[in-house]
């Protein structure tokens, strides 16, 4: 049976419609979880009431000022933070996995997390600010941002002068990671216990600190870098064929790799500087999305972002009601992410990554 052109085109179009549909499902799921999470936290309010408070505020008709204070000023920015972190870190994961053709690559592969943590630790423990004229309240964020970019900047600079293979780039990232971690360990060994607890909570990643004041910079950075990266979607598809063939298709693979890697690092830095290093999402988001929509980046990038957002919203909802005063979201995301990931890998019939 030889299919005719219309049939093949029809199947191709319907396959792509199915991908869009899955991505839309993830978006709807994220939207629902965004509303549900408003009902969870230390302050007691039902999910329905919390959603009512949220829409009351949007319509400018605040009927319950006390609830509004908790829901609008604490939970809404926190939920937005979860949305941004999940989406942004998942996109960075997709990019890293493509750039290095390695299913284990994730936003922190190039030493981003260890850099950010070292920067944060310098601020928290030694009270040092590497960026001049930054108010004390922002010095941890500023330090983390600057330090998280050092490993990638280093790799990009070295690759200007020397030909680095993707593998040697990853290894350089790992080397920097160990160097930074050991410096951080030295700082922590000598730290007083109260700042140690702060440093620790920063390390596992938490959305506790996300308030309205940090939402604009996080949002602008994430939307901007995600949009720019999405413009590389087609070229990232070309990257699948391997560096040599990429050249014969008219693209320079090293250029695409370095540019998208730097953009993904900026995307990641703009999130982890505020939230700390939330783990596992950069692996779970892309891999789950891959199972549903395949690896064409035009669909994979948005689907990963939407699934990642939903996942972190769920993890943070659980985090808020765990323990006495809640747990850091990073702990929960890894705790549910790990088994979920294993279950997916075992259940999966075909190897979507190969």
């Amino acid at each position: 049976m030889i299919p005719d052109a219309a049939q093949v085109k029809g199947e191709y179009a319907s396959g792509n419609r199915r991908r869009v549909l899955w991505a839309t499902c993830f978006v709807v799921l994220a939207a629902v979880l965004f509303l549900v999470t408003l009902g969870f936290g230390v302050y007691k309010i039902s999910v329905i009431d919390a959603i009512g408070v949220f829409f009351d505020h949007l319509s400018g008709d605040i009927s319950d000022p006390r609830s509004d204070e908790y829901v609008w000023n604490t939970r809404v920015p926190r939920a937005i933070g979860a949305l941004i972190a999940g989406a942004g870190l998942s996109i960075a994961g997709v990019i890293m996995q493509n750039d290095f053709k390695n299913p284990l690559a994730e936003p922190y592969t190039m030493g981003i997390s260890s850099g950010a943590f070292l920067g944060a630790t310098l601020g928290i423990i030694l009270n040092i600010s590497v960026v001049p004229f930054v108010p004390v309240s922002s010095q941890v964020v500023a330090n983390a941002y600057v330090f998280s970019l050092i490993p990638v900047a280093l790799i990009a600079a070295v690759s200007k002068f020397r030909k680095l293979t993707p593998m040697s780039m990853i290894l350089t990232g790992i080397a920097v990671m160990f160097l930074f971690s050991s410096i951080t360990q030295i700082l922590m060994v000598t730290a007083p216990s109260e700042s140690l607890a702060d440093a620790y909570s920063w390390r596992v990643g938490s959305l506790d600190r996300i308030r309205w004041d940090v939402v604009p910079p996080m949002l602008v950075s994430t939307v901007f870098f995600s949009a720019v990266l999405y413009m590389f979607a087609k070229r990232l598809n070309v990257m699948y064929v391997g560096d040599r063939s990429v050249r014969t298709l008219g693209e320079n693979p090293m250029f695409i790799r370095i540019v998208t890697m730097v953009l993904a690092s900026l995307l990641t830095a703009g999130i982890v500087s505020y939230t700390g290093t939330i783990g596992f999402i950069g692996l779970v988001g892309p891999h789950v999305a891959r199972i549903f929509v395949g690896s064409n980046n035009r669909y994979l990038i948005p689907a990963s972002a939407a699934f990642g957002a939903a996942f972190i919203l769920l993890a943070d909802t659980i985090a808020k009601v765990s323990g006495i005063n809640g747990l850091p979201v990073g702990v929960i995301s890894s705790m549910i992410g790990g088994p979920l990931f294993m279950w997916i890998l075992i259940r999966q019939r075909r190897n979507v990554w190969a």
């Binding site: 030889i2 093949v8 085109k9 064929v241 040599r244 014969t248 395949g294 690896s295």
Partner: protein, 270 residues
């Protein structure tokens, strides 16, 4: 399309692979490059399509030095089907072949691109695989998909690195015959690396026989495929008969692999 190789040499760090390769091919032909393992066939192809830059010498297409042509522009002129036994990526066949349209892609070209992809799949007899995952194909299907990707690029010169290495005999004959037909129908110069002397001799318009990093003989299959040439280049004794006016090789024996007798045998392949 004229492809002119002028005194091209290439070394991997200090290991010389190509020495002073020169030849000139043109027209709508199928040209096969033959030679033993490690002789530099793939390296030569990589020097033509700028995957590698020759250590010295120049490659000209229609009189233009490829080192001065941008990758993007070159991609519209030279297509490449790599040796790809292990290549694997998680896309459908149709998306994989669509990547070959990349050098030509512009906004709104999707429908036209899909037509070209479909026609090519159809011609190769694999249109029923369009929606399958590339990873799940057999070696032969895999190779035909790679060939399709090279063809949808609509190049004027198509370079193929052992395009039939994973195919069974029927498909080897079929694909090679098709390459010859395509060279005429699409008006392209097709250059392929081959390991099957008889199939190459049967369908090629021209054969380039390589030996020790250089061109040992180039020309019509009847001139190039001789017992003496095979003895020197491959180290085998053979009897050459005729089949349909093309030379047909009956291999007799391998010459003793004595490094003392043949000082170059120890040369490492690239």
């Amino acid at each position: 399309m004229e492809l002119k190789i002028n005194n091209v040499s290439f070394s991997y760090s200090s290991v010389p692979v190509l020495h002073d390769v020169s030849f000139d091919i043109s027209g709508n032909e199928l040209v096969s490059i033959l030679g033993p393992n490690g002789v530099g066939k793939s390296t030569l192809i990589h020097c033509i399509n700028k995957i590698l830059a020759p250590t010295s010498g120049t490659v000209l297409i229609d009189g233009r030095d490829v080192s001065e042509i941008k990758l993007k522009e070159l991609a519209k002129q030279i297509g490449y089907v790599p040796y790809s036994a292990n290549d694997s990526f998680p896309l459908s066949v149709i998306d994989t072949v669509m990547i070959g349209r990349h050098p030509h892609s512009k906004w709104g070209s999707l429908d036209e691109d899909l037509d070209i992809v479909y026609e090519t799949l159809r011609m190769l007899g694999i249109s029923h695989l369009a929606m399958r995952a590339f990873n799940e194909l057999s070696a032969g299907q895999h190779q035909k998909v790679m060939l399709a990707r090279g063809l949808v690029q609509e190049p004027e010169i198509l370079l193929l690195d052992e395009p039939t290495s994973n195919l069974d005999v029927r498909h080897q004959l079929d694909v090679t015959k098709m390459l010859k037909r395509l060279s005429r129908e699409k008006g392209i110069l097709i250059v392929m690396i081959s390991h099957d002397i008889n199939i190459a001799a049967k369908y090629s318009d021209k054969i380039i026989l390589m030996h020790e990093g250089s061109v040992y003989a180039i020309g019509d299959p009847n001139q190039v495929i001789t017992a003496e040439n095979l003895r020197t280049v491959y180290g085998v004794t053979a009897e050459i008969t005729k089949d349909d006016d093309a030379p047909h090789v009956i291999l007799k024996d391998a010459l003793p692999m004595d490094e003392e007798l043949d000082g170059t045998a120890a040369k490492s392949p690239a």
